[in-house]
């Protein structure tokens, strides 16, 4: 804490001293490690050569929570820097409602190419505050030697997983991220969407205690404790533990993000060439295949001294050419639909066939777009985890969660603008 405060003070001091002769230098904050940093530096150098605007990268912690905390401290202190921020998809509404981000509508005229869900996640009260940079989406990895075809329904998935278990072909039927953290929310949102439910309804009211949600959570609990297709150890697992389980051939199916694809296809993987991906399953007629939308956005600090230059940077970084390059170097999924078209050069780049990747991304749905998402999520994480560890019945857990979430919305003052009256 102390170290961070001192660093911050020094950085602000340094920025303050240097302000005079740095009119054309912008600052960018985001993840700056490994190949992500390399490709960003290359692109910014190219941009500087073309446009004469220099952009400095200000490194931030790699952990999402810590980066978020640092951003809040900076923006809360009304710092004009960094000019450009890399935001997690769930932060845009929070920062927008706080008045910390510059509305982008007056710059961004042509956004039709971006996947609609990615834009939806970046709007607050109808105004666009961030431009999708790359997308992450939850999807189903399944073994082609254990399933006849992509499991499109929960019954297909559970049936196939149970059969593989019964035949002794695998140790686990299905693995997912069910530790008590944000990852559990993404899994829950996906199953919930598959059952036709939602955390907040269209009007922004809490809907997590509706029958569809109870069915979804009950299915998740039973998959662990009744049918035994999901190991109870998964209740402490995050992405990597599930990937290890799937990569060593111990699991018939896995829910995970796209990053796992390249690793699973590598030479040392036991399942290379024996797996495929598809959108998450759904109940036919009632629900729709749903992948949780993740990924990063670029936004502009509302107090920036150079909004036009900052927009030029954002526009450049989110152009198709830069997205393709990012996909090639880092393997991140472009947020523009056109980049996936045949002949654009995405073939063989993501591991996944571009058309299949596009289908998965098209099934992506944002998590609730609200400034208090993180707080809502924490309430729900605890209750969902209680239900999954059999400390509470799913209906009771969701009922409590809904009560607490409504109280939070009321306390936040957001309930007044929207109808969030409970039953």
């Amino acid at each position: 804490m102390m170290v961070r405060a001192v660093t911050l003070a020094l950085m602000l001091l340094a920025a303050g001293c240097a302000r005079e002769d740095r009119r054309d230098v912008l600052t960018f904050s985001g993840s700056a490690v490994g190949r992500e940093a390399d490709v960003l530096r290359t692109q910014l150098a190219r941009f500087a050569a073309e446009r004469g605007i220099r952009v400095e990268i200000r490194a931030t912690p790699d952990s999402a929570d810590q980066r978020h905390q640092l951003y809040v401290q900076w923006l809360n202190a009304r710092s004009p820097e960094p000019d450009i921020l890399q935001l997690d998809v769930i932060w845009t509404p929070e920062f927008a409602a706080a008045g910390w981000l510059l509305p982008l509508d007056r710059f961004a005229h042509d956004t039709a190419d971006f996947f609609p869900a990615t834009l939806e996640a970046n709007r607050w009260q109808g105004v666009l505050f961030g431009l999708p940079w790359f997308v992450d989406v939850g999807m189903l990895y399944w073994r082609t030697d254990l399933f006849d075809r992509a499991p499109g329904t929960f019954d297909d998935l559970a049936g196939g997983a149970a059969r593989a278990l019964r035949d002794g072909r695998v140790r686990y039927g299905l693995v997912w991220q069910a530790a008590r953290y944000e990852g559990l929310m993404t899994v829950f949102v996906e199953i919930l969407g598959g059952f036709g439910g939602a955390i907040l309804d269209e009007a922004g009211a809490v809907a997590v205690d509706a029958p569809a949600a109870v069915s979804a959570l009950t299915w998740m609990r039973d998959a662990i404790h009744r049918e035994g297709i999901v190991p109870s150890a998964a209740l402490t697992w995050q992405e990597e533990q599930t990937r290890f389980a799937f990569q060593t051939g111990a699991a018939a199916a896995m829910r995970n993000w796209p990053y796992a694809y390249a690793l699973l296809s590598a030479g040392d993987s036991a399942v290379a060439g024996r797996f495929a991906v598809s959108p998450m399953p759904a109940v036919p007629g009632t629900g729709a295949p749903t992948g949780a939308l993740g990924g990063s956005q670029l936004a502009i600090n509302a107090r920036t001294a150079q909004p036009d230059e900052a927009w030029a940077v954002v526009e450049y970084l989110t152009a198709p050419e830069q997205m393709l390059e990012r996909a090639r170097v880092v393997g991140q999924f472009p947020s523009r639909a056109s980049v996936y078209e045949p002949g654009r050069g995405l073939e063989g780049v993501l591991g996944i066939d571009p058309a299949a990747a596009r289908d998965v991304v098209a099934a992506a749905r944002p998590r609730p777009v609200t400034p208090v998402y993180t707080q809502l999520s924490e309430i729900l994480q605890i209750r969902v985890h209680r239900a999954l560890t059999r400390q509470q019945e799913p209906a009771a857990a969701l009922h409590e969660a809904a009560r607490e979430m409504r109280a939070l919305l009321a306390r936040s003052g957001l309930a007044a603008e929207r109808t969030t009256e409970g039953p």
Binding site: Q69, Y181, P231, S232, T236, Q375, H385, R386, Q391
Partner: protein, 298 residues
Amino acid sequence: MSASPSERREAWLFVSPAIATIAAVAIIPMAWTVWESLHLHDLRMPWLGRPFVGADNYLEAFGDERFRDAMARTFAFAAASVSLELVIGLIFALAMSHALRARALIRVLVLMAWAVPTVVAALVWRFMFEGPSGVAGSLLAALGVVDAGFSWFVHPVAAWVPILLADAWKMTPFVALLLLAGLESIDPSLYDAARMDGAGAWRQFREITLPLLRPALLVAVLFRALDAFRVFDVIYVMTGGGPGTSTEPISLYTFTTLLQHLRFGYGSALSVLVFLTTFVLALLYIRLVGRNLLEAKP
């Protein structure tokens, strides 16, 4: 002895750096926290401003089930871990004081666990109990204590077992060391006299060792209880408070509220309540121990 006004002024001058330091590092931050706790200050909801709300945060805390549960859990953890460490620590101390050979080596071995950073120790314990391949987990399954594939960190009660073991493993050496110092200060001639009078080992332990060890025992309990009440790192690393919130101690809840939810007002109120609780406990205990320490003196 009375001092002249100029001497008194000089005395103040000499202690003023100390007073200023204490004010800067303890009194001012504490007062600030109390002041903060009387405001609604939510960094993630800046549109609400930072109004003065009086005792609202405290009222919310008293009605907050998660806070009350965390408090109760913390007390239970402190009681369980301190009892465990006291019993094992006493056995270690007795063994160390009776060791005839390689005393230094034994002491080093016992103290080693204490020297390991808590986060490292907690991680090792987590790996031992985590998943089907954890060493301790599979050993206990092989012994038939639990079913194969039992997940310790998923069960709301069983999750406490690795936590308590890790904490005891780490902190028992500290208790043992304190008690060893107490044992060494007992006059050996008392034991000689007891043996002469025909008292057996158990009688000697009950009539000589325990009563004379009492001051050391009380000090150990005070230190460990206050420490256990602030338990954070072991649990943060091992379970993060889960499953659900069933292993969440009060310090972890306060940390989450302050630094993750960034609810400065409410988090400060929680901090103040925790501070008051430990303060009152320590005060009561010190009065108790103080009296006992005096009584124990010959």
